[in-house]
Symmetry: C3
Subunit: 143 residues, 3 copies
């Protein structure tokens, strides 16, 4: 039997984890690399398309470069599949508006996220981004 306090704590954890992914979006769109990196654990990982970036110095370099032409991510369909103590795992979908080589690019994909609570705050331990498609808007996602 879970105590009332534990149930409240779980709800608060879910709220904080969901907000972590949304804070990420706002910081990416605002080209605010320092805030983005602060959402990761010290040994945090971002991986996408076979490329892995680990640790705050590497993440800082990665997001600082990204911020030169900031994408605008829209994260949704958030689900928390596991939540146990200071560890959690979730998924969310993303639509991302980007500019590449002067062209409007639209991306659809989803994140497989691992979260860890550090000093009372939920952080990204690992973000794995899976791309459904990343295509010029003028071309579309068919074919």
């Amino acid at each position: 039997m879970t105590s009332l306090e534990d149930r409240i704590q779980q709800l608060e954890d879910r709220e904080q984890i969901r907000e972590l992914t949304t804070r990420y979006c706002h910081a990416v769109a605002a080209a605010d690399a320092a805030t983005i990196v602060g959402l990761f654990c010290e040994d945090g990982i971002f991986s996408s398309g076979g490329r892995t970036t680990q640790g705050k110095p590497a993440l800082d370099k990665f997001y600082t470069r990204l911020a030169e032409q900031p994408p605008i991510p829209f994260i949704q369909n958030h689900v928390i599949d596991e939540l146990a103590g200071d560890q959690a795992r979730g998924r969310c979908s993303a639509e991302i508006r980007m500019v590449q080589d002067g062209e409007s690019v639209t991306t659809a994909g989803w994140y497989d996220d691992h979260f860890r609570r550090v000093d009372g705050e939920w952080k990204f331990a690992e973000r794995n981004f899976h791309v459904f498609h990343m295509v010029p808007l003028s071309q579309g996602w068919a074919g």
Copy 2:
């Protein structure tokens, strides 16, 4: 006066109902018909554009066919309008990326959902999808 436990239960119910709609999206994008059908009640209904599909065998057929060319749904603007015991009703908006006849199609619409708790788990009793527009990306939604 609602007890603290009842208030926690309501928050947990809302959380589970919201996650039900997001699990649906992930399963649709993953072309996982079995998981989608498992989110419905035995006598669950999906209806859209005057066409109604009811019951797990019919839903299984419907979503198996859909999975041949899986749409990518993004569900958002979730609101739970009623929640009473094991019944609930809500609305959410959807942007959906589809491919039809080799063409990129973009859809905007909203779901009118009825939820029922079965053996402690929230399920779709009825999903009614209302389309704002379903148009080729190259054409747009004007006119």
Copy 3:
């Protein structure tokens, strides 16, 4: 030390505030100006692009005109940055599908929202909409 009841209240407040922004979307897409205006405080403000509309009569005029060609907003990335008593502040992102001069227009932006609880219900005290871009779909957001 926050009491259990206060923690539950905070979770409920967050839930209601989040739903306020989603109800707004449904009402905008449904061209339901009366419902939109009812989500604002008596002295509520909507501002965007240097133009400010304040008070229910002015908001009613503004949203009634908007409803002639209703945009379809998709709000996401919701975060509540401050919550203290009957005041709160949050941010959310928006993708909006519009029609302007017979053309499909796509908008990306974010809301800086101030909320106030009035007679037990959370309302918009102030919505400030910041546009990333508002462009014809046929043209895209690059350049």
